[in-house]
């Protein structure tokens, strides 16, 4: 695998991981070129493309899948099985789904580092490391827990948030009547 790219329907990159070295300009150009090639494709056309000029020409293939607003593109060389990579993309997306609970594009945008970590558990150095979804998720969770335990003060708000989320708040009364003081409770949105 030479590169893994995720970009949206307008070509904005959401994740870019290159397993070979290119300069920054080249990387951006590759992203743009790949976007051009892939966005021109119809829906019911096959998911394999010859690679663009920048990314190795005709020995490398672009294997892509289109999910809602995102394109997942894997640029591979001839040693990978094309149909296998299609399955790999599927497993990757399902893993993201499990980790983020109904993943959508926003999740990928805001948690770019987490996506990278998940990807690192699946593909290492351009080769497929692990394809078992539950295994990947267990590892990622364990590492996240380690991170949280170290977070210290900076993590306190996050911890508080998760603590409150897990609490079971009783129903808020609309009016608090203590003696002859009447406090009207504002209508706060439920904290979930």
């Amino acid at each position: 695998i030479k590169a893994i790219l995720i970009f949206n329907n307008h070509g904005k990159p959401r994740l870019s991981k290159f397993y070979e070295h290119y300069t920054e300009d080249t990387e951006q150009q590759i992203i743009r070129e790949t976007f051009h090639l892939v966005s021109k494709r119809d829906e019911n056309i096959c998911n394999f493309l010859e690679g663009g000029l920048l990314i190795g020409g005709s020995e490398n293939k672009l294997i892509y899948r289109h999910y809602a607003t995102l394109y997942f593109v894997f640029c591979v060389d001839s040693s990978e099985s094309e149909l296998g990579i299609l399955d790999l993309i599927q497993v990757f997306v399902e893993t993201l789904d499990k980790c983020f609970e109904n993943v959508c594009e926003l999740d990928l945008i805001f948690h770019m580092d987490k996506v990278h970590n998940i990807l690192a558990e699946m593909v290492m150095g351009g080769m497929v490391l692990e394809t078992n979804m539950s295994e990947i998720i267990t590892q990622v969770e364990a590492q996240n827990k380690m991170e949280k335990s170290e977070a210290g003060i900076a993590g306190a708000p996050a911890r508080a948030v998760s603590a409150v989320k897990n609490m079971n708040l009783p129903e808020m009364p609309k009016n608090i009547n203590i003696g002859d003081i009447s406090i009207k409770v504002p209508n706060l949105p439920s904290f979930k």
Binding site: D87, M124, T131, E147
Partner: protein, 822 residues
């Protein structure tokens, strides 16, 4: 200094930017903040800053000032820091920066860390971007981790080892002992990565490959694992749409392919399991198809039995009918690979493939086109050509050039009749004329001159086409050349094949002049038409008009045209006596083999001749034992083998010349020049007809029947004859060796010896393996010079290895048909 904003905030702010300029502004502000924060050496917020930096890097902004910070993060003790630090290192750093070497020490410490996740991170980074120096230093640590019992680490170490091997191949032996136990793991992750490691080792080094085959008994182990996977039924962890761990299955199949390639024992061991996988996998989902595809590729590459191969091709055929485009694409690609070896089987699916030409998908169309060209043969040429021409009409411009060239090649090889050939060419020129490659114009011209009886028909059709449309340059060029040559035929209305049209000389000249003047003509085309007009001066009677036209162009701006016009003018004035001789009909040109070095000089009748290249083939002296073998072959009577290499000089008589069979020369396809200066050399230097192309083969000479020279023990050798045209004393024989036994004959060597009065030249064979059961044949070309026209006799020696044992045989061939040497 206020705390730097969190990554989330940054992302949110960036997304609110409405224009690119706004976004750039925000990012620059943030960059400045980050830079000052880095300068302050703030430990707590460093990871946050680097995370933001990575985000900006992804968007495309320069972020190299963060590289050192990544290093500091890696060196810190906190896991969070390390995580972001390593991620940053993987994204921002690479071998070309010197900074990365500083990481080596950190990685070394982390590889020995107590927490497995830290070790994992280190392995991951090393595997992604480790340079060769780093790999050399740390390979020992990686090897240690390869042996640990922690499966999480083991699998990462395996992939890291692959990266190390790729960077520093010498270290491969270091990992060898660790691989012994890898396959006995239960964890699929480890199995998967170890198979990758073994695959990499086998691909890189042949020694490893043989080692694994023989000593490790790798194949039985792999077969066992695969069997377990298939039989084990449903296992929720590894299941993907009903099949257990297809990724691992695919990888194992790939490794089996490498192990089995060219090796009989391993292939036999695999046959059963491959058959099982091929029949049991369900094909309704992509997963099943992925496995089947891999199985098919493996069956094709190893020495499998023929039943299995047929099964594989049938699976591919089934794929072709599948609705899913991906599957069809994949099937077409693999059929392309197998069409060389299993030609007949693929022919069965020809109609499906031709249907794929009409598919909407560009990638599929391209594959189908290539495959169709590979499948064209003498039987199906007419039908296929119809389809291909239709395809040419409707396909994308990118394809047209390739398609046109392919059609020309196919038509040349298999044309059933000259007229059909010319019709096809005309069709291509008119539909895709502008996309035709430039070198095909001379090829076409040569073809047309060869088909003598079709000249009138050809020129008439070309003339009509020219009247319709002068925008397609190759068509125009060919047409104007033909009109120049055969204009008299056109005017006299002699065409037999079609309705002759009535054309006057003036009309023809009008057309040609129109070409000269038109804006659509390129300079090359103008050159063609000017020369054509000139040639007509001998064939037509209206010389004055031609003189006028030519003199007009004597002052043309285009240098090429001007030169030609001036020279032609001179021809009219001073050399008028020579004019008819110079402008005669062109002789029939002989052609080099289509792929050989194209010596066909521009046939415009004008260019300098290229001096007949006397290529001196180096005579390779075979090792002495082979010479001795052949001297044995002689048996001491008058049969003396001689190979002449330097063809132009009359070779000295045989005597003690060592035989060299040219087996080592990589000459396939390159024509050797025969002495064929077919030009009258005494001519004014700037005008010359004719070519200096050298010829090897002409059309199959008047039906000399092929003969069977040898037929014993299942090996049959047939001779087919051709005459080499410029020198009728040279007989060209092609031998076809085919094998009707069940086992291949490898290391097949054919040697021949002829009597003293002959000279023999043996070119290199197409291969030295004769496949079993007549699945293919080895061809080799022999050229025999027979100046005294004596009866041809030959002694033949064959050596090959059959079923593991070497076989040698001698035979005399006396039954040459008389036409071959008379």
């Amino acid at each position: 200094m206020p705390a730097p904003i969190r990554l989330r905030e940054l992302i949110r702010t960036i997304r609110t930017a409405r224009t690119q300029a706004e976004e750039r502004e925000m990012i620059q502000k943030e960059c400045a903040a980050i830079r000052s924060s880095f300068r302050e050496e703030d430990n707590t917020y460093r990871c946050r800053n680097v995370a933001k930096l990575l985000y900006m890097h992804m968007l495309g902004y320069p972020a190299h000032f963060g590289q050192l910070e990544c290093l500091k993060l890696i060196a810190s003790q906190k896991f969070t820091d390390k995580r972001i630090g390593y991620l940053g290192a993987m994204l921002l750093l690479d071998e070309r920066q010197d900074v990365h070497l500083l990481m080596t020490n950190c990685i070394k410490n982390d590889l020995n860390h107590s927490t497995q996740y830290v070790q994992g991170l280190a392995l991951c980074t090393l595997g992604c971007m480790g340079s060769s120096e780093m790999c050399r230093d740390l390979a020992g640590e990686v090897e240690k981790l390869l042996k640990t019992s922690n499966s999480y680490l083991r699998k990462k170490a395996a992939l890291c080892a692959v990266h190390v091997i790729r960077k520093v191949p010498e270290l491969m032996e270091m990992f060898l002992p660790a691989t012994k136990n890898l396959l006995s793991e239960k964890n699929h992750g480890v199995l998967h990565t170890s198979v990758v490691l073994l695959t990499e080792m086998c691909e890189r080094s042949l020694d490893m490959l043989t080692h694994f085959r023989k000593n490790e008994k790798l194949v039985p182990q792999l077969v066992r694992i695969l069997k377990n996977l298939i039989m084990s039924g449903y296992s929720p962890e590894h299941d993907v749409s009903g099949i257990s761990d297809p990724f691992l299955q695919v990888r194992i199949l790939r490794l089996l392919r490498i192990l089995g390639k060219g090796d009989d024992d391993s292939s036999e061991a695999m046959n059963d399991i491959l058959a099982q996988v091929a029949t049991n996998t369900e094909t309704s989902k992509n997963v099943g198809n992925a496995i089947l595809y891999e199985t098919v590729l493996t069956i094709m590459d190893i020495k499998s039995e023929s039943g299995l191969r047929v099964l594989a091709i049938n699976i591919l055929g089934r794929f072709l009918l599948n609705n899913d485009k991906n599957i069809r694409y994949v099937a077409l690609t693999s059929l392309l690979k197998t069409v060389q070896t299993d030609h007949n089987a693929v022919q069965r699916h020809r109609s499906t493939i031709v249907d794929c030409l009409k598919d909407l998908d560009v990638s599929i169309k391209r594959r189908a086109m290539e495959l169709s060209f590979a499948l064209v043969n003498g039987n199906n040429i007419r039908g296929m050509m119809k389809e291909l021409l239709y395809f040419l009409d409707s396909c994308d411009p990118d394809f047209k050039a390739d398609c046109a060239s392919g059609i020309f090649l196919a038509a040349e090889k298999y044309a059933p009749s000259k007229r059909w050939h010319i019709d096809t060419i005309m069709r291509v020129l008119t539909t895709a004329g502008s996309y035709v490659r430039d070198d095909s114009v001379p090829n076409l011209i040569q073809l047309i001159t060869n088909s003598v009886e079709m000249h009138a028909y050809t020129v008439q059709r070309l003339y009509k086409a020219l009247l319709d449309d002068i925008s397609q340059q190759p068509l125009v060029q060919v047409a104007s050349w033909c009109i120049g040559e055969y204009g008299d035929l056109l005017v006299s209305g002699q065409c037999e094949e079609e309705e002759p049209i009535q054309v006057t000389e003036d009309e023809v000249l009008d057309v040609l002049e129109g070409l000269l003047v038109s804006n659509l003509s390129t300079p090359v085309t103008r050159g063609f038409s000017l020369t054509a007009i000139m040639k007509l001066s001998t064939r037509f009677s209206s010389v004055n008009r031609i003189k006028k036209v030519v003199s007009i162009y004597g002052s043309s701006i285009d240098v090429e045209l001007q030169q030609r016009a001036v020279e032609y003018n001179a021809l009219f004035k001073k050399y008028d006596h020579m004019r008819p001789a110079l402008l005669e009909r062109m002789p029939i040109m002989e052609k080099t083999a289509a792929n050989g070095p194209a010596e066909i000089v521009q046939t415009n009748g004008e260019t300098e001749p290229s001096i007949p290249d006397t290529k001196h083939l180096p005579s390779i002296i075979q090792p002495a034992n082979q010479a001795n073998d052949l001297l044995d072959l002689l048996g001491g009577n008058d049969v003396v083998p001689v190979i002449q290499t330097n063809v132009n000089t009359k070779p000295a008589s045989a005597g003690g010349e060592l035989l060299d069979l040219l087996g080592d020369l990589s000459l396939t396809g390159a024509p050797t020049p025969t002495p064929a200066p077919s030009l009258p050399v005494s001519q004014p230097p700037f005008l010359l007809d004719g070519l200096t192309s050298q010829s090897l083969f002409n059309d199959i000479a008047a039906g000399i029947p092929p003969m069977t020279a040898y037929n014993k023990n299942g090996l049959k050798i047939e001779f087919t004859f051709e005459r080499s045209n410029p020198n009728p004393n040279i007989a060209v024989i092609t031998i076809h060796a085919s094998n009707s036994t069940e086992a291949d004959m490898t290391d097949f060597v054919f040697q021949a010896a002829v009597p003293k009065t002959f000279q023999l030249q043996l070119l290199s064979p197409s291969s030295n393996v004769v496949p079993a059961l007549n699945q293919g044949s080895v061809t080799q070309v022999i050229r025999i010079l027979n100046p005294q026209k004596q009866q041809l006799r030959m002694r033949v020696k064959l050596t090959y290895t059959h079923k593991g044992s070497p076989v040698q045989d001698l035979a005399e061939v006396n039954n040459f048909p008389p036409q071959s040497w008379q």
